[in-house]
Amino acid sequence: MELKHTDQQKNSSATLIGSLVQAFFNFSASMPMLAAVLLLIGLFQTFISPDMITSAFRGHMLFDPLAGAGIGSVIAGNPIMSYILGGELLESGVSLIAVSAFLVAWVTVGIVQFPLESSLLGRRFAIVRNVSSFLLALVVAVFTVVIMGLIQ
């Protein structure tokens, strides 16, 4: 009976190891695409400076939120960067709605990772998710600022 229990334990460990190995190979299958995404992110971080981002905003009530969501959709990187850039944009006079759209789009929309998302989760899913996330970034931005205006 003791031997049987040990065999069961061995089988359990082997199955867990097997699951981990399988997971590793499944994940590795996406590595070429992932590498491409990381290379693109490197390009963005090198060629797009904070000054370039700030200069994209014109002080226009309708254009700036669209610009904010658009830029946030394209840029990829650590979300902390979006907070730092967002703070600088606010200080330079960009509207809170535009900055909010920028922050939300940065973390919800992914043009750079679209090929990877499309290949793994389906093109239709990737398109619907990213387009609706872009639109929702604007909705969330307007809603947030309106609520803040009401409570202040």
Binding site: F24, V107, Q113, L116, R129, L136, V140
Partner: protein, 155 residues
């Protein structure tokens, strides 16, 4: 194919502006190294989940008929998940193959935007009221996106 295109851009760029493209390659390499622990974490979670949770259980919790439980699981796991969004695509693909609803995949991915460890940074730059309202709004937006997927893909 996509990697080949990006690699070709780098090769051309190395000829035209070598310093800039070497810097870009360095940034990408450092990013990859920083993400290795996250990759290992995701592989570990993928392996553990596939070992512990069988397809009928996936369907029960996040599949067709999972109801409000599925939405809560997607929201909670999205908020608690760590690392960039693209490292989670493989995990979601596996769950999708085991019966996870598309709408809940979308809810998971949207709620990843609510980054609990980074909330103090957001509070520092924008204030606590903005942070709370924005985070709650994004949670609401995730539900809207999930409902959109339910409408276009009734399961």
């Amino acid at each position: 194919m996509f990697l080949c295109v990006v690699a070709a851009v780098y090769v051309l760029g190395m000829i035209i502006a070598p310093a800039k493209f070497i810097s870009a390659l360095y940034q990408s390499t450092m990013l990859f190294i920083r993400l290795i622990p996250v990759f290992l974490m995701v592989v570990g979670i993928m392996g553990f989940v596939s070992y512990i949770i069988r397809p009928p259980q996936v369907k029960k919790y996040v599949g067709k008929g999972s109801g409000i439980t599925g939405w809560l699981v997607a929201i909670a796991t999205g908020i608690l998940s760590h690392g960039p969004i693209y490292v989670w695509y493989s995990f979601l693909k596996e769950l999708k193959q085991q019966g996870m609803k598309e709408s809940l995949s979308a809810v998971f991915l949207y709620n990843r935007a609510i980054k609990l460890p980074l909330l103090p940074v957001m509070i520092y730059y924008f204030g606590i009221e903005f942070t709370i309202i924005l985070s709650c709004s994004m949670l609401g937006a995730s539900l809207l996106q999930g409902l959109l997927f339910e409408l276009i893909n009734p399961e």
